[in-house]
């Protein structure tokens, strides 16, 4: 994991800093035995956090990402290098700034497709989709990883990332205790409503690979969740899994809630509480979720 996430030295200096280019080149020459790699990996700007996460895991962090501060709050670890430039809002990246940075490629996801005409005046745009309804999420995740790696000319890194992640998840699957009941993965929106996760999402994809069953019988939207009132969770034979964060004040309110206390009684074992994971993430988020879920199930079982 650490090997994959450490920022790689192949980042090129920005053309703006031409004065320092010589200095930089000297430093690079000392660091790199193969300077050819420099020319090989283009400067990437991306609006999508999933793609940013993947780029980082491939060892080629993007040059610019939208909403970096929020990225660190929601995607979390590993942090982007400090040199990465913030492009502003994901839905309305600052075009003047982007044009000024003059990236070689811009990577987006279908959500930002309406910006393509504008963005392609600045640099060639590539669109990567993940969590398309009706497609196998895990397969799509591999495809996305390979596609992104092809853009940054590091096909080897993609295979390595896929192999390590899948091997690690297989390992975790072996560690899981027996007889785990179906799980009901929820995240609180406020004290009365939760998102419950099902098909088409990261959590479901990981659970499937871990051989765990999802207890949610209802539909989910294109983003893999459904927003429901707490009462919708009644009469489901499952163990509750709560993904943090709890919104402010919600934990105190739940203590008072008769319905939630009843749901806790109904849950097959004490509800598990997991640290936050970017629920629209790619392989790195998937592995993190797998680790956390396994740890939680193991410790709960040992108790």
């Amino acid at each position: 994991m650490t090997l994959l996430t450490r920022s790689s030295p192949v980042r090129r200096p920005r053309p703006l800093l031409a004065r320092h280019a010589l200095l930089f080149a000297l430093a690079m020459a000392m660091l790199l035995s193969a300077p050819l790699a420099m020319a090989a990996s283009p400067r990437i700007a991306t609006l999508d956090w999933t793609l940013a996460e993947t780029l980082q895991a491939l060892g080629t962090p993007p040059a610019a990402v939208a909403q970096i501060e929020a990225y660190h709050d929601w995607v979390g670890k590993p942090r982007l290098p400090d040199s990465v430039i913030d492009l502003g809002l994901r839905t309305q990246p600052n075009l003047e700034l982007l044009a000024d940075l003059d990236p070689d490629r811009i990577l987006i996801s279908p959500m930002f497709a309406n910006l393509t005409p504008r963005l392609s005046r600045i640099a060639p745009v590539e669109n990567f989709s993940l969590y398309s309804p009706g497609k196998n999420t895990w397969k799509e995740m591999r495809q996305l990883t390979r596609g992104v790696a092809a853009v940054v000319n590091r096909p080897g890194a993609a295979e390595q990332l896929i192999d390590t992640t899948e091997a690690r998840i297989r390992e975790l699957r072996q560690q899981l205790p027996d007889n785990i009941p179906p799980l009901l993965v929820v995240q609180f929106m406020d004290a009365r409503h939760v998102r419950v996760f099902g098909d088409n999402g990261l959590y479901q994809a990981v659970m499937k690979r871990l051989g765990l069953e999802n207890a949610w019988p209802g539909d989910t939207n294109a983003w893999g969740f459904s927003l429901v009132g707490l009462e919708a969770l009644a009469n489901l034979d499952a163990r509750l899994v709560v993904v943090k964060p709890y919104p402010a004040g919600v934990r105190a309110a739940l203590e008072q809630s008769g319905l939630w206390q009843g749901l806790k009684q109904q849950s097959q074992g004490e509800p598990l509480v997991l640290p936050p994971v970017w629920s629209f993430g790619a392989l790195p988020s998937a592995q993190r979720f797998a680790e956390q879920l396994t740890t939680a199930l193991e410790t709960a079982d040992a108790r």
Binding site: A70, N94, V228, S257, G258, L259
Partner: protein, 666 residues
């Protein structure tokens, strides 16, 4: 069901009592059939009184179903009561419980607390919301205090405070969508309950409010008279209004803090009751409260019955707004309004400038300088810089936005001036007329239902939506001769439907919602050079076209009789003006989104500056609108660089600040 019920009205001589009785039957039937489906009638009734040990079904009924039913009755009644009080004190059938900014104050307080001091929410979010609502009301009262809380000034103050706080919340929402997603559900008004805490909080407060309303009944009836007659009875108008509005705000604040924003009930219930024949204040208070409670409960029961067919949550508040809109539109032609009398003192008085032309010249110079500033000064990765006018690499991004903001500023300001003068209602604005609301509904649906719509499709869909709204406006008001007050009510209904659609979409938590927020709030981000040029060209053309109408605009506010006597064909002139407003609004909306509020603010700003006669008012508004939008667009791009704040938001903040200052000075 309700529609059929009201169709029988002429046969039954519909009275408020019969309306409520019939609705009560419908509500009872629905509720008991829902209860039977859930657990059987007897077990369901038992669950009301506890029995948490009797299994999950009983638990859900006891902690979720029953509190929800009670909550819907309480919330509906409270909002309707508040609505009657508001409409009575403000003498405006458009007034709603949220008119004085209570909901937006509560919303902003909750958002700010979530982001900055989440610890306070543990103490109790109801209190945070109540405090926010109270502060918003205090601000409105402070603005209107010197004028003795005169209805017009209170309404204007409420409007601008609403706008201001709403704009601030949208800024927070744009930049902190993830943290605030829970509050979006609150904003859409979900009645879901999971204990009796909410009901226990609300019931005693509403009881207290109802009691106070009963005590205030006799003095409040005086407000039906005009100011002079009321004063001659020895009543302190200011204290009376303070009491009435304060009570309404307290009721609204309590409801909103518990269940969130539930639209429409507080506006519609009092109007329906009046339509059904309740004239005096006492019966109106009583029947409106009952009707409001039943309306909300019935809607919620219907929703619970049929929401199983859609995945995910459908918030009741949003549904009341969306479903209520057609009902209100249908009712409006049947509503007895004061009609064609000249509305008294409907515009805030302001001093006339001694040389309006020179003032206009000053504005034009200011506009030119701001345009140069917006084109040449800005931040890049390296910090602030001054571009040479020949640097097309940078100008290609800035020019379209400057052109479009100027064009849209002019168009919205003209539309606003026209509609405010024709209706003689200060709350009127192109946004309120429902044309932008209609096109926004169409666009939101297109963004969410079509796989990946391109810009041309979106423009086409938006135009269709605007035309549909216009058709509704004309068809339902044509027979009454396009009476201004009815037009506005119809517009308010369409806008309410739009609010419902928007709130549902945002509450669902779809990531695309952020795009919708950004566009809704008036952004020039998506403009390219061609559309920028087209917009500005159209704006100038339409500005020229509207200048010969100045004579109508001077005369129409004097009332129908005067206008006819001066030889104006009322129907034709109103239709023509309406078409012009529709054209202006639709074009501007398609470019910068429906919520820019320049159309509301610019005419008022121009008036405050001293442009009073219609011709000058049009010119002054157009210049003010363009100035405001160009400045707002530039400030929005620089303030939080590299993040961009939509121009419409910044315009609301800049214009709103000046407006509040001007209102204080009156």
């Amino acid at each position: 069901m309700l529609a059929r019920l009201v169709r029988l009205a002429p046969l039954l001589r519909l009275s408020p009592g019969i309306t409520c009785g019939l609705l009560c039957l419908v509500c009872l039937a629905l509720a008991s059939s829902n209860l039977v489906d859930a657990a059987g009638l007897l077990a369901g009734l038992q669950a009301l009184f506890g029995a948490p040990d009797a299994g999950m079904d009983a638990l859900v009924l006891h902690f979720s179903w029953w509190p929800r039913l009670m909550m819907s009755l309480l919330a509906g009644g409270g909002l309707a009561l508040a609505g009657v009080l508001m409409q009575q004190v403000l003498r405006n059938p458009l007034a709603a419980p949220t008119t004085l900014g209570v909901a937006s104050g509560a919303n902003l307080a909750l958002m700010a607390t979530t982001l900055m001091a989440p610890g306070l929410l543990v103490v109790g979010r109801e209190w945070v919301a109540l405090l926010g609502g109270g502060l918003a009301m205090a601000l409105v009262f402070a603005l209107a205090w010197r004028r003795g809380l005169a209805p017009v000034v209170v309404v204007l103050g409420g409007l601008v405070v609403n706008l201001y706080l709403g704009a601030l919340s949208i800024v927070l929402l744009l930049f902190h969508q993830q943290e605030l997603k829970g509050l979006l559900i609150w904003g859409a008004g979900s009645l879901a309950q999971n204990d009796w805490g909410g009901v226990a909080f609300l019931a005693p407060r509403l009881a207290l409010g109802a009691l106070t309303a009963w005590l205030l009944l006799r003095p409040m009836a005086v407000l039906e008279l005009d100011d002079a007659s009321a004063r001659s009875l020895g009543v302190s108008l200011r204290n009376l209004r303070l009491a009435g509005l304060g009570l309404a705000v307290f009721l609204t604040g309590c409801v909103v803090s518990v269940v969130g924003v539930i639209g429409f009930i507080g506006l519609a219930a009092p109007n329906i009751v009046r339509l059904a024949g309740a004239r005096r204040l006492g019966p109106r208070l009583l029947w409106s409260t009952l009707l409001g409670a039943l309306l909300l409960a019935t809607t919620d029961q219907l929703l619970q019955r049929y929401s199983g067919q859609v995945s995910g949550l459908v918030p009741t508040g949003a549904v009341t707004a969306t479903l209520g809109a057609p009902l209100l539109i249908w009712l409006i032609p049947r509503l007895k309004l004061r009609g064609d009398q000249p509305p008294a003192g409907a515009t805030a008085p302001a001093g006339r400038h001694h040389a309006p032309l020179r003032l206009a010249g000053g504005l034009a110079i200011a506009l030119a300088s701001v345009t140069v500033l917006a084109l040449l000064v800005g931040q890049t990765a390296g910090g602030w810089s001054w571009q040479s006018p020949a640097d097309w690499d940078v100008l290609q991004w800035r020019l379209p936005r400057v052109l479009a903001s100027a064009g849209c500023g002019v168009m919205l300001a003209l539309a606003g001036t026209l509609i405010q003068r024709v209706t003689a209602n200060p709350m009127a604005s192109p946004e309120v007329l429902g044309i932008s609301g209609g096109s926004a509904i169409a666009l939101i649906l297109a963004i969410f239902l079509l796989p990946s719509p391109d810009n041309l499709t979106l423009v086409g869909v938006g135009t269709l939506g605007a035309m549909a709204s216009l058709a509704v406006l004309i068809i339902f008001n044509g027979r009454s001769g396009l009476l201004p007050e009815r037009l506005l009510l119809t517009g308010v209904a369409i806008t309410a439907a739009f609010d419902g659609v928007r709130a549902t979409v945002l509450a669902g938590g779809d990531p695309r919602a952020q795009q919708v927020i950004a566009w809704l709030s008036g952004s020039t981000y998506y403009v390219d050079l061609t559309s920028g040029l087209v917009v500005l060209g159209l704006a100038l053309l339409l500005a020229l076209a509207s200048s010969p109408l100045a004579r109508w605009l001077d005369i129409l506010p004097l009332g129908a009789a005067t206008s006819r006597a001066l030889g104006i064909d009322l129907n034709r002139s109103r239709l023509l003006l309406l078409l012009l407003v529709a054209l202006l609004t639709a074009t501007a909306t398609l470019v910068v989104g429906p919520l820019s509020f320049v159309g509301l603010l610019a005419p008022h700003l121009a008036r405050l500056l001293g442009f009073l006669r219609a011709g000058m008012h049009l010119l002054g508004s157009a210049l003010t609108g363009a100035l405001l939008m160009v400045l707002a667009d530039w400030v929005g791009r620089q303030l939080l660089f590299p993040q961009e704040i939509p121009a419409g938001i910044v315009a609301s903040l800049l214009g709103g600040a000046y407006f509040m200052w001007g209102l204080r000075r009156l």
